[in-house]
């Protein structure tokens, strides 16, 4: 089986749409470790990807006014027990463009694997980008995931990102996202992570509401069990009139796990408003009792609640 076939098989068994990789109507980029295995583009989308001495560099541009009908699939992974994958990416959505990127990051056998992503995103005036990143990790906990992202959202632009790591062991996760939103721009950052054993989770989301009437929400849902640890920092700064931001963090803690939430809200303009809420601790007693009153055992009730918040 070739590396591409193996990656495709893992992608499929992890819930990815294998047909999309073969369909000429869908753009994609597939890479294993430092090797680009396959790529395809569609009209209005420019992808310049190359292998570098220490990873993969990609420049992705969605041309002015182009609204991609189908999502762009990105399939990254390290299929071996050991390895490093460093991805340097620049994404530009020109004025009025719109695209949905779906990234699958696959590390099924990882015992000592590093996955480093350094991405810069520029969303032009009136453009919209959706970025969904889902990780599929094996059971060994030997993955270190370090995604760093810097996003500029132009006037009337919209940016939505959704990070999910709920399958397999997390290993070590260190997310660092910063988004600057211009006038009337919208930014929505969501992360869902389920940590087990000794997994170590750090999530730092920062939104700067720089333009008038810019709006944002940072939503984080983390469940941890065994001896896992998590620290979630949600930062929103309201720096212009009419800016509205909200930070919403929920962490469910089981066993000997330990969680910490650090919401930082700052307003530098009297016309801005930023709010936050954080719920951290064991599963809500009333939710438990409500489900138990439906006949679920305590274990079943916890399972329903945790799966629900991570969905």
């Amino acid at each position: 089986m070739s590396e591409l076939e193996e990656l495709t098989a893992c992608f499929g068994s992890a819930g990815g749409d294998v047909k999309a990789l073969a369909d000429a109507g869908f753009a994609h980029l597939a890479a294993s470790g430092h090797r680009i295995l396959s790529s395809r583009t569609v009209e209005g989308l420019e992808v310049k990807a190359r292998e570098t001495w220490n990873g993969i560099a990609a420049r992705v541009t969605v041309k002015k006014g182009v609204k991609l009908r189908n999502p762009v699939h990105m399939c990254f992974g390290v299929l071996h027990k050991k390895g490093t994958q460093k991805i340097d990416m620049e994404v530009t959505l020109e004025e009025g463009a719109s695209a949905h990127f779906i990234a699958h990051c696959i590390f099924p056998k990882a015992e000592k694997v590093r996955h480093i992503m350094d991405a810069r995103v520029d969303i032009g005036e009136g453009a919209e980008m959706r970025y969904s990143e889902t990780h599929y990790h094996g059971p060994h906990g030997g993955v270190e995931v370090v995604p760093k992202l810097s996003v500029q959202v132009g006037q009337n632009g919209r940016y939505f990102t959704d990070f999910t790591l709920t399958t397999g062991r997390v290993g070590k996760l260190d997310i660092d996202y910063t988004v600057e939103a211009g006038e009337n721009a919208v930014a929505e950052l969501t992360a869902r992570v389920f940590g087990h054993a000794t997994d170590d989770i750090h999530i730092r989301d920062r939104v700067l509401l720089a333009g008038k009437n810019a709006r944002s929400i940072i939503k984080t849902r983390v469940a941890i069990e065994d001896d896992a640890t998590a620290e979630v920092t949600g930062i929103t700064e309201g720096n212009a009139a009419g800016a509205r931001g909200h930070v919403d963090c929920m962490e469910i803690v089981k066993d000997r796990a330990a969680a910490r939430a650090v919401p930082i809200v700052q307003v530098n303009d009297p016309g801005a408003k930023v709010t936050h809420e954080a719920a951290i601790g064991s599963v809500d007693k009333r939710q438990m009792e409500t489900l138990m009153a439906h006949g679920l055992t305590p274990e079943e009730a916890v399972d329903v609640i945790v799966k629900g918040i991570l969905k």
Partner: protein
């Protein structure tokens, strides 16, 4: 034999200065009957519901609760639920990531959540795929909770103020839901402080000062409730408005 028989139930808060909330309360609910429990705020109605359901921290100091011939002592909430008791809290909690249809199918094999959504006066088409989260209004969430209980087909449904948070125009919907429980063979312990709801019951009991002070015909109990008169307690609670 009554479906639920409560005898001399005493419940005290576990705080340093414990307060007796239920003070030798006795009550019975027959199979298939709607039994209204009325009383002013703070008389122990919701506490009684939590004690019957077996919620954490609501273990009685003394007294018995017999359900369908078996003692409920020591049973956890889900064990009582599996005997056929269920409960709708006054303020139902929200759940992220669970649709209304999934919520109604948590533990029943009816496979027809739509039917129960319609029974509480909502459109199954509009609500089936919605999340049981904060996107629902308080009134919508209460209706969904009632629908989920109907889907369980319990022997006894404890409804803690099902009408609160529901607009006055929808009172008839709540009455219809209670009728649906009865039609499905469920008994209902209907907790309310609204006499127009209480009078639809087969029987009623007035709770005051942690005891049942009047029981029987709902209209008579409602009249007694309105009179703010009580022969058992000191009268302080009964006259509290």
């Amino acid at each position: 034999m009554a479906l639920l028989e409560i005898k001399d139930l005493v419940y005290e808060t576990k705080a340093h200065h414990s307060t007796r909330i239920l003070d030798g309360l006795s009550l019975s609910v027959e199979s298939g009957e709607v039994h209204a429990l009325i009383g002013t705020n703070g008389t122990g109605k919701s506490t009684l519901a939590s004690v019957i359901m077996g919620c954490e921290g609501y273990g009685p100091a003394s007294g018995d609760a017999i359900f369908d011939g078996s003692s409920l002592a020591g049973l956890k909430v889900h064990e009582r639920a599996r005997l056929g008791i269920t409960m709708a809290w006054q303020e139902p909690v929200r759940f992220e990531g669970i649709t209304v249809s999934q919520y109604l199918s948590l533990r029943n094999d009816s496979g027809r959540p739509a039917r129960y959504i319609e029974l509480v006066g909502l459109s199954a088409e509009r609500y089936g795929a919605r999340m049981v989260d904060r996107s629902l209004s308080g009134g919508e969430r209460k209706r969904i909770e009632l629908a989920s209980l109907l889907a369980l087909k319990p022997k006894l449904a404890i409804l803690d103020e099902p009408d609160s948070g529901i607009d006055m125009l929808s009172t008839q919907d709540i009455i219809n839901v209670i009728a649906a429980f009865k039609a499905g063979g469920s008994a209902v312990l209907l907790i309310t402080h609204r006499e127009e709801i209480a009078v639809i019951a087969d029987r009623a009991s007035q709770l005051c000062g942690g005891r049942i002070v009047c029981a029987g015909n709902p209209a008579n109990v409602a009249e007694h409730y309105k009179s703010r008169h009580c022969n058992i307690c000191t009268g302080r609670e009964c006259h509290y408005v």
